[in-house]
């Protein structure tokens, strides 16, 4: 068995050596008009692909064994993350440490680091919002950045034209985003899966293209600058103070989001969303209004994008349509999928990993995105449930006679 596996890996490495031969080994030196044969590269490719292939096979096999064991025992595998989350002796000290870290962070680290954290927390908001739509209700939405865009532009434009302040627009922006969520929701009520994904993708692009081309309304690609930062009862603050203020504002918003999303998921509505994800037909047959439930998911998901958009505009003080491309939607989707669909803790972890990793992987420079892609592929093969998989809640019931 082992020999067989190794043989396969050997074959893979030979194949790779053959495939990469022209680019890795042959080099034409045009200055001296000679061909250089870099045989050492062939060796590296061979060994490298052999090791990677063997490792890959080993991990796959271990994973399959795990699945088999689960099937034999009939007991669901409990992952380490789930066990930790269910253990109060772990969660309470962990929460304590995290909150101390969060409180001390802006005073210990530089402004630059604080700004990265704010960005990460904006993605927590976005991730948790999209999680309602994709993770819980199972509606694949590739145009989520559109709602983010709506939030950001509603602050920028309302402020520019009417001088609305941050706090009043925070609500209005979220409301507008929710409205757009419903507008998107109506035509896609009948769609599912791939079709839904394509339509939402189109919707996201429409919003972005409108913002890019309707100069009279949105100032086009040049964007809107000098958006005021959030105010604090009219107190004048310098850049450092404002950043710290926004940082704590984001912590507050994140906590608020976590609270609301958690309550929603763990309610009649949350259950209906999950049921909708599992089986739409059965869901309706059980008396759930599909239309209302779907629209609610779209609207509530979009609301958080609206919040995040307003804060984003206030934080960067400049927005243009380039911030709300398809890539942005995909990034947010990655936060949800990588973190763990449907899991609140997962999405938070996912947001931090996804924003902080590329930030701190800068030393890899141009290989950054390559490494990032590799991480995603490996993650999805070995942990399709995400970093922190959802745990289904078990309910307490009284024994009836």
């Amino acid at each position: 068995m082992l020999v067989n596996e190794l043989k396969k890996s050997l074959f893979v490495s030979l194949w790779f050596m053959f495939l990469t031969f022209p680019i890795m080994v042959i080099q034409v030196n045009t200055v001296e008009n000679i061909i250089q044969w870099r045989w050492a590269n062939l060796f590296f490719v061979g060994v490298g692909s052999f090791v990677l292939s063997a490792l890959w096979r080993y991990l796959i096999r271990r994973k399959e064994q795990g699945i088999q064991e689960t099937e034999v025992d009939g007991v669901a595998r409990v992952t380490l993350s789930q066990r930790l989350l269910n253990n109060r002796r772990f969660t309470i000290p962990a929460l304590f440490v995290v909150s101390i870290l969060a409180l001390a962070f802006p005073f210990v680290f530089s402004l630059y680091q604080t700004n990265i954290m704010i960005t990460a927390m904006i993605y927590v908001l976005l991730g948790l919002g999209l999680n309602i739509v994709v993770g819980v209700a199972g509606l694949l939405d590739l145009g989520y950045a559109a709602f983010y865009c709506v939030g950001a532009y509603s602050y920028a434009l309302l402020n520019y034209h009417f001088g609305f302040g941050f706090w009043s627009v925070l609500g209005i922006g979220a409301g507008l985003a929710a409205l757009f969520g419903i507008i998107l929701g109506f035509p896609v009520l009948r769609l599912r899966g791939d079709y839904l994904a394509i339509v939402t993708l189109g919707f996201g692009e429409i919003i972005r293209l409108i913002m890019e081309n309707w100069n009279a309304f949105s100032f086009g690609p040049s964007g809107i600058a000098n958006i005021p930062r959030p105010g604090f009862f009219g107190v004048e603050m310098n850049i450092e103070q404002v950043t710290i203020y926004v940082y704590f504002l984001m912590i507050g918003m994140s906590l608020f989001t976590i609270f609301v999303v958690n309550r929603l998921q763990d309610s009649r509505i949350g259950r209906a969303w999950i049921a909708l994800r599992e089986d739409e037909v059965a869901c309706q047959a059980m008396g759930i209004d599909k239309r209302k439930t779907k629209l609610m998911a779209f609207a509530l998901g979009a609301t958080w994008a609206g919040f995040a958009g307003v804060i984003f505009a206030a934080k960067t003080t400049f927005i243009n349509p380039a911030s709300f491309t398809l890539w942005e939607s995909i990034n947010i989707l990655c936060v949800v999928v990588l973190g763990g669909m449907g899991s609140i803790v997962g999405v938070i972890v996912g947001a931090f990993v996804l924003i902080l990793l590329p930030e701190y992987l800068r030393f890899l420079s141009e290989y950054r995105i390559l490494a990032f892609g590799a991480v995603l592929v490996v993650m999805m093969v070995f942990r399709p449930g995400g970093i922190v998989e959802t745990v289904r809640r078990t309910y307490q019931y009284k024994e009836t006679a």
Binding site: I269, I274, D279, Y395
Partner: protein, 265 residues
Amino acid sequence: MDMEPILDVKQLTMKFGGLRALDKVDLDVYQGQIVALIGPNGAGKTTFFNCITGMYDPSGGDVLISPPKNGRPQRINGIKPNKVTEKGLARTFQNIRLFHNMTVLENVMIGCHCRMKAGILGAVLRGASTRREEEAVIQKSYTILKKIGLEKYVNDFAKNLPYGAQRRLEIARAMATDPFMLLLDEPAAGMNPQETHELDELIIRIRDTEGISILLIEHDMKLVMSLSDRIFVMDYGKKIAQGTPEEIRKNPAVIKAYLGEEIDA
């Protein structure tokens, strides 16, 4: 029986393009009855169910219900499936359609959904009334599971249940919607004789203790004959016979539908 039928289907027709999947089918069910709908494969039985439960909008005819609680007859064809369920007709599916990644208890709790009120605000604020409602639903769901005999699986995922238990969970979930009538689409399909026997008892128990009338599609003749008060037989979208099990057993049209044209020995 001088009462109104609780389900009265008149001249129900369903056309898919040129195909008449249902052709002027009449059927009625009275309170407390177990009624079976049988027929060869492709006879239109499931289409009939889909038309009654709002999955399809029938091309013609009427579906009238008069729920025992408020006896007013009302026409329900063309309304949405969830509205049909709200009115008290709950169904199960021929191919099991559970919410696989939810626990058994949650599956039943979903059934209670349309009898609950909590909205977005209620869910977020989680006031006393919402908490009470949740509590009551959990308790009600557990009680139903106990009646169906699934209490040992409460916190298991639906997908991990044995086949027979999954079928029974579908019934439990349908019962959670507080129906006055259950529509069971081949509840015994794929069950072994032991499980079928338990199902037989379960259906009778549901009728007797819960007062829920039952309309079922079934191929297992033994089960149909022992359970049913009345039987309707369909073939090629048409109703070809109705009557008590005894009458159906002797009906030449039924024998012909099941066994083909006259057999010359």
